[in-house]
Amino acid sequence: MNIIIPIKQVPETSNVKMDKETGTMIREGVVSVINPLDLYAIEAGIQLKEQFGGKVTVFTMGPQAATKALKEAIAMGCDEGILISDRKFAGADTWATSYTLSEAIKHIGEYDLVIAGERATDGDTGQVGPGIAAWLDIPLATYVSKIDEVTKDSITVERLVEDGYQILQMPLPALLTVIKEISNPRLPTLRGKKKARVSEVPVMSAEDLKLEESYIGLKGSPTKVVKIGYPKVTRGGKIVKAAGDEGVNEAVEGLIKFLEAKELI
């Protein structure tokens, strides 16, 4: 079973700072990690490989530094990592990104399954996985919590929906986006780390993928961010001071009036 897993490198969330002027995330000097929700996709992929044999290929679109995330995935047990990297990809929205990633998948070769994380913890859209499925024109199941059965040409999965679980059977190849319930990501082993260190991570550029230039990067992105703002804090606290017994009585009366006015008592 050949499995392809698109992953993303995201800023480690406990370190994220926002630029108050522009409303964008400050990425400089921030440590990046594999998008934590992608780890569940990686684990699910490795488990399928362990069960059915085959190969797990992990790939990402990003700068050279993203190689680190790919090597981490290899250390966990993926067989191969591929970096999709080109200055022309900069500024891509979910439309342009899913186009680029779907083209990369076509180049990577034969596959039975694409497994993506539910969403990335930085952009939080959850659109890229389904976008890839649309570009590739393959069946899609989102929010997959369990893989029930895999046969030579079909897969049966459970997906979490608002009032329960939905069971879907789909022909292969297909794309799944998975949620936490699907697996417990393993930690990379020392053996895996060593293997990852010496493994080559090939790089594919826009030219290698023969991409339509008007479909990629900022130019190919129909999404326009008009403004990013902070929500106003509408909660306000009021400290009622009370000195001595008289003060306390007065304060209590004041509080009662306040709560009555708000129809809380």
Binding site: E12, S14, N15, V31, V33, I34, P36, L39, E72, A75, N184, L187, P188, T189, L190, G192, K193, K194
Partner: protein, 471 residues
């Protein structure tokens, strides 16, 4: 010794010294000051009045008043202690340094910082981090504990293998003595043999020799890179046997934490974590730090290789925040997890020479079986400081537990002593281990300590009843 009670007149006098806002004696507010992290029902005691002074001069006046009126004073930091050191067991005045948390001086030239002692330890690192500096004191409770408490207890923690304990970093201090004098000890000097090293006598004195009001601490360069290993072993002995091998081979890890199967399993169940603990009888958590990520990862790998060569069954590597946090949270939550299993327990911190650790593990198993209680064992393998914790069997009555606890502790301490160890490596004696220290210490050493106490505190009002009794 008979103490006098805190009268209304004395409360008024205290209010004059520190201002009425900084004195309170209502039960509800004082309750929080009546215990630390030891079992409140067993060790807690209410103070008669709580004062929160803001200067050394105020503390000096309070101490002089206490001497005049023969009222005990109990100094207190954040109350995160584990031996009852900050509990006012004779009532009297509870003196909290919580309002003394100012940073007084950051001296980049000498790489030192001077602060008041009510500052939260972690806050120091937050302040100096941007300048690439680092305070290496690392008690596990660093987000709540105060520097003052760290000094009083000579706090150790999870990074002592490489960086040593609190005392190593205390260069100077301002102290209010038990008779109310204010004195400066030490300074910003790397070498100083001008008389006795009194500041180091104060470090670890559990507030019995005065109240530290300011401290100058030495800083080091901030380690910016780290790599963490989680190493699985079949048996505790295999794990512990690796420790000296690693220590001898060059790279000194910043942490080498030992966790037995029971500890890992309980913490994992508590955290809903899925580490593959079933196959492992024990684990080591090893962290290597430095300033170059690539080098640190290579160093960690070399340590991992040593582990594999010495019987490890698997080595997991965490070199980013997500995975490191996953591993560390297991270690940090062991105590909390056992509190859920059985809130009644005795958290111990025996310390033995590193090479004696393998000998103590089977003894713990024996005690566990003999008394029908669980004794999870985890702790700082790199420095021989182990948290063997006696956990009450939920089937036992409280009375039976008290009986067992005393007997099992006595046996545990005897074994520890026989192996060349001592009863406390970092939590201190306080009230909790007072009788056991008496049983396990050379009488001559004990009498020297008492001599110091009596010379410094002739009226015996400064944190009395801690470590040892005078009468």
């Amino acid at each position: 010794m008979r103490y006098n009670h805190v009268t209304l007149d004395i409360v008024e006098e205290l209010k004059k010294i520190v201002g009425p806002k900084n004195v309170f004696s209502d039960e509800e507010k004082m309750e929080a000051y009546s215990h630390d992290e030891t079992n409140a029902a067993e060790y807690g005691h209410m103070p008669e009045v709580v004062v929160t002074p803001t200067t050394a001069e105020e503390i000096s006046q309070i101490v002089k008043l206490a001497n005049r009126e023969l009222i005990p004073i109990t100094p207190r930091g954040a109350g995160s202690g584990l031996s009852g050191g900050a509990i006012p067991i004779f009532g009297g005045i509870l003196l909290s340094v919580e309002k003394m948390n100012r940073v007084l001086d950051i001296d980049y030239g000498n790489m030192m910082i001077t602060t008041e002692t009510g500052i939260v330890t972690n806050e120091i690192n937050n302040i100096i981090k941007e300048k690439g500096l680092f305070y290496a004191g690392y008690p596990m409770s660093l987000e709540t504990c105060y520097l003052g408490g760290n000094i009083a207890e000579n706090a150790g923690g999870g990074k002592a293998v490489k960086y040593g304990v609190t005392g190593k970093y205390i260069m100077g201090m301002e102290l209010v003595t038990p008779t109310g004098d204010i004195v400066n000890l030490g300074g910003k000097l790397s070498k100083d043999v001008t008389g006795y090293d009194l500041k180091q006598l104060i470090v670890g004195s559990e507030g019995t020799l005065g109240i530290v009001t300011k401290a100058t601490i030495r800083l080091t360069g901030l380690p910016t890179a780290k790599s963490t290993l989680l190493v699985l072993y079949k048996t505790p002995k295999d794990a512990i046997d690796t420790v000296p091998v690693i220590m001898a081979k060059g790279t000194i890890p910043v942490s080498m934490e030992f966790m037995d199967k029971l500890s890992v399993q309980t913490a994992c169940e508590y955290l809903n974590e899925s580490l593959p603990y079933q196959q492992a009888g024990a684990m080591l958590l090893i962290e290597v730090d430095g300033t170059n990520q690539e080098q640190v990862e290579l160093d960690a790998e070399a340590v991992g290789d040593l582990c594999m060569e010495n019987g490890a069954i698997e080595v997991y590597v965490a070199d980013n925040y997500t995975t490191q946090e996953r591993i560390w949270s297991v270690r940090r939550n062991i105590a909390e997890a056992f509190k859920v299993v059985s809130p009644i327990q005795s958290l111990e911190d025996i310390v033995v020479p590193i090479s004696a650790i393998p000998d103590i593990i089977p003894e713990l198993d024996r005690l566990s079986e003999k008394y029908d209680i669980k004794i999870p064992c985890y702790g700082h393998a790199g420095d021989g400081n182990l948290h063997a914790t006696l956990v009450k069997n939920p089937d036992h009555t409280l009375e039976h537990w008290h009986d067992i606890e005393a007997k099992a502790l006595r046996e545990l301490y005897q074994i520890t002593k026989k192996l060349g160890g001592k009863i406390s490596g970092e939590h201190g004696i306080g009230v909790k281990r007072k009788k056991y220290m008496l049983e396990n210490m050379d009488p001559v050493e004990l009498s020297l300590m008492k001599g110091i106490k009596m010379a410094w505190d002739p009226n015996y009002i400064m944190n009395p009843g801690k470590m040892f009794d005078i009468e």
